[in-house]
């Protein structure tokens, strides 16, 4: 209906292979970017930024990271939380070791460490597939979590056993630490998430993205077409872990300010996995939709009783939220196992062929 594609034709491969070849999609993306970069900063409250937008963007980035591995390369991972933790601890160590260095560079650099560790734990993927691989990543999850607790060097021997983000400035703005303004943090998180999402979109539409999908769809055929399975999978592990690492670092640096090992527990892994599955395996847009659903829904649910004028204990609300989220997850898996991205695709297809059914 809204997709009026008549008259949109491509006279070059460049245009044909653009990220958004359809004019209406380009308009939509421009509108979203406008909202994210202009409307939200202008109108949003601090609470909205801190409790909704910043975590949403952080989780969206983590979901992109996991999606690269699970959605595009077909390798199941339950260790996302730990890989995020590696990023967080690495960024913390880096910025405390080099206090004068630009903190954003440190955050981006921290991903390199999680990439390396991710690749190591990806090694068994050559021989192991599916649920068996999940064990490998669980091993990573528990082993790394243990490291965060047992290696005091990682948290600079803090008595609390947690990492506390120091104050860092950039171009005269305080970007990290307790005094950093939500709006500043929001812009940093938004730029990094949007930037990495764009770069990944580039990788995914090129040779490397294709080779991941080849492995995912039919690994034997991929190998017979000249794709080296180990290299390709390891690269997916590394890239995925890099992104998760950066997301993990952002999580503590721009959102939580301080983090304990339990922040990066298996629960987080599952949370991210849900975002990916519900958002849609193999879709970058889906990662955002999944993150919005899993993060924002519970936040909203907390306000529902209040809005309805009910006086319910915070605990009860939390329990109810768990139940509702659990039930909704099952519901959406039943309605559309391929996630919101597929739902959107179906809707888009309907709009494109409107008023016809096909």
């Amino acid at each position: 209906m809204f997709y009026r594609e008549a008259g949109q034709f491509k006279t070059s491969y460049k245009a044909d292979q653009a990220l958004f070849p359809i004019l209406q999609d380009r308009i939509g993306i421009a509108a979203i970017l406008l909202i994210a970069f202009v409307a939200i900063p202008l109108f949003a409250s601090d609470f909205f930024l801190t409790s909704i937008m910043i975590p949403f963007l952080v989780f969206a980035l983590a979901a992109i990271g996991l999606n690269v591995l699970t959605g595009y390369c077909g390798q199941l991972s339950l260790g996302t939380g730990a890989f995020m933790g590696v990023g967080a601890y690495a960024a913390y160590k880096l910025t405390t070791a080099f206090p004068d260095a630009n903190v954003i560079v440190m955050v981006l650099l921290s991903g390199v460490f999680s990439a390396a560790i991710g690749a190591v734990f990806g090694l068994p993927s050559l021989r192991i597939k599916g649920l068996y691989l999940a064990v490998t990543t669980l091993a990573a999850q528990f082993f790394l979590e243990w490291c965060f607790i047992r290696i005091p060097w990682l948290y600079n021997d803090n008595a609390s056993g947690a990492i506390e983000v120091p104050r860092r400035e950039m171009f005269g703005f305080i970007v990290t630490g307790a005094e950093a303004l939500p709006i500043t943090r929001y812009f940093v998180v938004l730029c990094i998430t949007a930037g990495i999402a764009y770069l990944m979109a580039n990788v995914l539409r090129g040779r490397i993205g294709r080779s991941w999908m080849m492995i995912r769809d039919m690994d034997i055929a991929a190998e017979l077409m000249g794709v080296r399975p180990l290299q390709t999978k390891l690269m997916a592990f590394a890239v995925s872990s890099y992104i998760c690492g950066v997301a993990g670092a952002m999580m503590v640096f721009f959102w939580l300010n301080a983090a304990e090992p339990s922040s990066y527990s298996i629960r987080l892994s599952f949370q991210i996995l849900f975002m990916v599955i519900l958002g849609g395996l193999g879709s970058l847009g889906g990662a955002f939709m999944g993150a919005a659903f899993i993060w924002i829904l519970p936040v909203l649910l907390k306000f529902v009783p209040g809005m309805l004028g009910m006086d319910i204990a915070a605990e009860t609300v939390e329990h109810a939220t768990f139940m509702i989220v659990g039930a909704l997850i099952i519901f959406f898996l039943i309605v559309e196992p391929h996630g919101f991205a597929r739902l959107w695709q179906i809707a888009k297809q309907k709009l494109r062929v409107w008023p016809f059914p096909y």
């Binding site: 528990f142 243990w146 768990f322 989220v325």
Partner: protein, 317 residues
């Protein structure tokens, strides 16, 4: 350093055989409990190909229901029967609401659904029973609580908790019962038929839906037993959920569909974990129990990807 790794632990084992035997016993008991959890997984996986992540929370849920009912004045044995009933309702509900609509979906989707179920049960359990740890009603159920010490010649003594012995006995009884159930009863044979070939099972006139309900119920019973045993050793709390993840390495070792595999795998992990923790864990600051099981499974996987009881896979194109 090398000495600490390769020599010292063995010297200790020799020097203090009573301690070593005590460790082995601890490992054995832990292994039995792992095996029980794994058993729950195997039952469901065998019949439906679903890797049921909710098995862990089912253990907690069963334990909480039992204790919760008792706290509200229900006599222990009645509470036990009621809890069995609750597990039956849960099994039926899961089959109806989750399994049936998701039949034929890829395994990762089913896995996710069971994690969704976990969320739901966590919320529901906390909603009804509150989040605090509870004391298992061991005595009220007539389970032994004392302990017996055995002397090992002149080298010291080991202490066996009666509840642990009971756990071992119950585990053996459950495995035997399940074995008989699978091999001797009509439904049991039907279950095996399903595991081997869905089409074949359908053709002999067995309803898949019934079978799933039964299997989930059986897994619920196993969960209840596990919950009682585990709860008696510590508390009944949501922390127990994490134990369920241990089932994964157990299954890797034993294979996803083998009941004996689950037992053997559970024992290997139990022994390995305790021995590793007590003799080597100190070297790296302790707490290795949390991940050692996975590393054992991982190493094992690299050499034998098909598991202990699986057959070698020949890839075909």
């Amino acid at each position: 350093m090398l000495y600490d790794i390769f020599i010292d632990p063995f010297v200790q084992m020799y020097d203090m055989p009573d301690f070593f035997l005590q460790v082995l016993w601890e490992g054995f008991v832990a292994g039995i409990l792992y095996a029980l959890i794994a058993l729950g997984f195997v039952l469901i996986f065998k019949a439906s190909g679903v890797f049921n992540f909710a098995q862990g929370i089912m253990v907690v849920f069963a334990g909480l229901t039992l204790v919760g009912l008792h706290e509200n004045g229900v006599p222990a044995y009645l509470a036990l029967i009621l809890t069995i009933g609750v597990m039956g309702v849960l099994a039926y509900g899961v089959e109806r609401v989750v399994m049936r609509p998701l039949v034929n979906q890829p395994e990762i989707i089913l896995l996710m659904a069971t994690i969704g179920l976990t969320y739901f049960l966590v919320g529901f359990g906390e909603f009804v029973f509150g989040g605090e740890p509870k004391q298992m009603i061991t005595q009220e159920l007539g389970l032994p609580t004392g302990s017996t010490a055995f002397e090992i010649g002149d080298r010291g003594l080991i202490i066996l908790q009666h509840i642990d012995i009971a756990a071992a006995v119950i585990a053996v009884i459950m495995v035997t019962a399940l074995g008989l159930f699978f091999n001797k009863t009509r439904i049991g044979r039907a279950l095996r038929a399903v595991a081997d070939d869905h089409q074949a099972a359908l053709s002999v006139g067995i309803s898949l839906n019934q079978i799933w309900a039964i299997v989930w119920f059986a897994a619920g019973l196993v969960a209840l037993a596990t919950g009682i045993m585990w709860g008696a050793r510590s508390d009944v709390s949501f922390a127990l959920e994490i134990v369920a993840f241990k089932a994964l390495p157990v299954l890797i070792l034993g294979g996803f569909t083998s009941i004996p595999g689950a037992i053997v795998g559970g024992l290997i992990i139990g022994f390995g974990e305790k021995i590793g923790e007590l003799y080597w864990g100190g070297l790296v600051g302790g707490g290795v129990e949390s991940w050692l099981a996975y590393i054992i499974a991982l190493v094992f996987l690299l050499f034998r990807p098909q598991g202990l009881f699986g057959e070698r896979i020949i890839e075909r194109i």
